[in-house]
C-alpha cells in the first residue's frame, strides 16, 4: 500500500451538490407541511432538486473519479464483502463511497428523481397543481399525488439510513465522514486523482437547469 496522503475524494461540485440538496430537502419538507400558499416555494424547491439530481447523474459520468458511477457501483461480491466488513470496528479502507454507500447514492438519486417527477404531475386538490398535472386526467394526477406522498416516506427512510450509517461509522468504526464532505479531503492511501475541470461541472449544471426550465414550462 502507498503512504497515506490527503486525497481530494469529494470534488467541489459534489460538495456543493450535497449540501444544497440537504438544504432543499429540508425546504421541500417544511413547505409541503405548510401547504396552501407556501406550496409555491415547494414547487421552486422541487424544480431546484430536479436540477441538482440531473446534474449529479451527468456528473456521475463526466465528473471527478470518485464521483463516477463506474467507480462506486460494485457487483454483489464486493457488496457482500462490504457487508461482512461492516461488523468490524475498524475504519473502512475505501477512498470514495464504499460498495454499500455507492448503492445508497444510486437509490437516493433514483428516489429523488421519482419524487420530483411525480411532483410535477401532482395536485393538492385545493388550488395548486404541478406543471404537468394539466396534461393528465384528474384520476391519473391523483394517483401520482398518492405516489408522491408514499414515495416521500420511502425517501425519508433512506435519508435516515444514510444518517444512521454516518453515525455508525463515526461512533463504532471511528471514522468521520462529515468533515470530508465539507473539506473534500480524506487521509487515505490512494494515488492523488487528476484535477477536475470545474468548467465542465458548470456546463453540466447549466444544461440540467435549462432542461428543467424547458420541461417545467411545457
Amino acid at each position: 500500500m502507498n503512504e497515506k496522503t490527503w486525497v481530494l475524494v469529494w470534488d467541489l461540485p459534489v460538495r456543493i451538490f450535497h449540501w444544497l440538496l440537504v438544504s432543499l430537502f429540508a425546504a421541500s419538507w417544511i413547505t409541503a407541511t405548510l401547504g396552501g400558499v407556501a406550496l409555491k416555494y415547494h414547487f421552486w424547491s422541487g424544480y431546484s432538486i430536479l436540477v441538482l439530481v440531473l446534474f449529479r447523474i451527468g456528473w456521475g459520468f463526466v465528473g471527478g473519479i470518485y464521483a463516477r458511477f463506474g467507480t462506486f457501483l460494485h457487483g454483489p461480491r464486493q457488496v457482500l464483502a462490504a457487508l461482512r466488513e461492516l461488523a468490524s470496528r475498524r475504519p473502512t479502507q475505501s477512498v470514495g463511497h464504499n460498495p454499500l454507500g455507492g448503492w445508497m447514492v444510486f437509490f437516493l438519486l433514483l428516489e429523488l428523481l421519482t419524487q420530483a417527477l411525480t411532483g410535477l404531475c401532482a395536485n393538492d386538490d385545493i388550488f395548486n397543481e404541478g406543471p404537468w398535472a394539466g396534461h393528465l386526467t384528474k384520476a391519473v394526477s391523483d394517483r401520482l399525488t398518492g405516489l408522491h406522498h408514499v414515495n416521500f416516506k420511502v425517501l425519508l427512510g433512506l435519508v435516515m439510513v444514510h444518517m444512521a450509517a454516518i453515525a455508525y461509522h463515526r461512533f463504532v468504526k471511528g471514522e468521520n465522514l462529515v468533515v470530508p464532505m465539507l473539506t473534500g479531503y480524506k487521509w487515505v492511501s490512494a494515488s492523488v486523482p487528476r484535477r477536475i475541470n470545474l468548467w465542465r461541472g458548470a456546463m453540466v449544471f447549466f444544461g440540467a437547469a435549462v432542461f428543467v426550465v424547458l420541461i417545467v414550462n411545457c
Partner: protein
C-alpha cells in the same frame, strides 16, 4: 307452522334485498352531493388562488364575488358527510367516521374561515385578502391531509 316460518323468512329476505340497494343508493347520493359541493368550492377557490399566486391579475371585485360564493357553499358540504354515507365508496378515510367530532369541528372552522374571507374581501384590502385566503386554504389542507384518501 313450518310454512309460516318459511313465509316470514322469504318476506324478510325480500325486504332485505329491496332495501339494501336503496340504502346503498342513498349513501352514494350523499357522496355525490358532497363531492359536487367540493367541486363547486374548488371552482371558486381556483381563480382566487391564481390571483394570490399572481398567475392572473388581481381583481378585487371578482375575488370578493368568489369569496362570497365560497362562504355560501362551505356550510353545505358537511351535510353530505352523514354517518350513514360511510358505507359508500368515496375518498373519505375510515378514520373520518371514528373521529367524526374532530371532523365536524374542522368543518366548522372551515366555514368560519370562508365567512371571514368573504367579509375581508368586501374591504378590497389586497394584502388582507391574500392573508385570509392563506388561512382558508390552510383549513382545507388540514382536513384533506387527515381524512382524504389519496390513491
Amino acid at each position: 307452522m313450518g310454512v309460516k316460518w318459511i313465509k316470514s323468512l322469504v318476506i324478510g329476505a325480500g325486504v332485505l334485498v329491496i332495501t339494501t340497494p336503496a340504502l346503498a343508493d342513498k349513501a352514494a347520493d350523499a357522496v355525490d352531493y358532497r363531492q359536487g359541493i367540493m367541486t363547486a368550492i374548488g371552482w371558486n377557490i381556483g381563480p382566487m388562488g391564481a390571483m394570490v399566486k399572481g398567475k392572473i391579475p388581481f381583481d378585487a371585485t371578482r375575488f370578493a364575488f368568489l369569496a362570497g360564493r365560497s362562504a355560501m357553499l362551505a356550510p353545505m358540504a358537511s351535510e353530505g358527510f352523514s354517518v350513514d354515507s360511510k358505507q359508500a365508496k368515496s375518498h373519505a378515510k375510515a378514520t373520518l367516521w371514528d373521529n367524526k367530532e374532530d371532523f365536524d369541528k374542522r368543518m366548522k372552522e372551515f366555514v368560519g374561515a370562508t365567512t371571514k374571507l368573504a367579509e375581508v374581501a368586501k374591504s378590497g384590502d389586497e394584502a388582507a385578502m391574500k392573508k385570509e385566503f392563506g388561512n382558508t386554504v390552510h383549513s382545507c389542507k388540514g382536513c384533506h391531509d387527515k381524512y382524504q384518501v389519496k390513491d
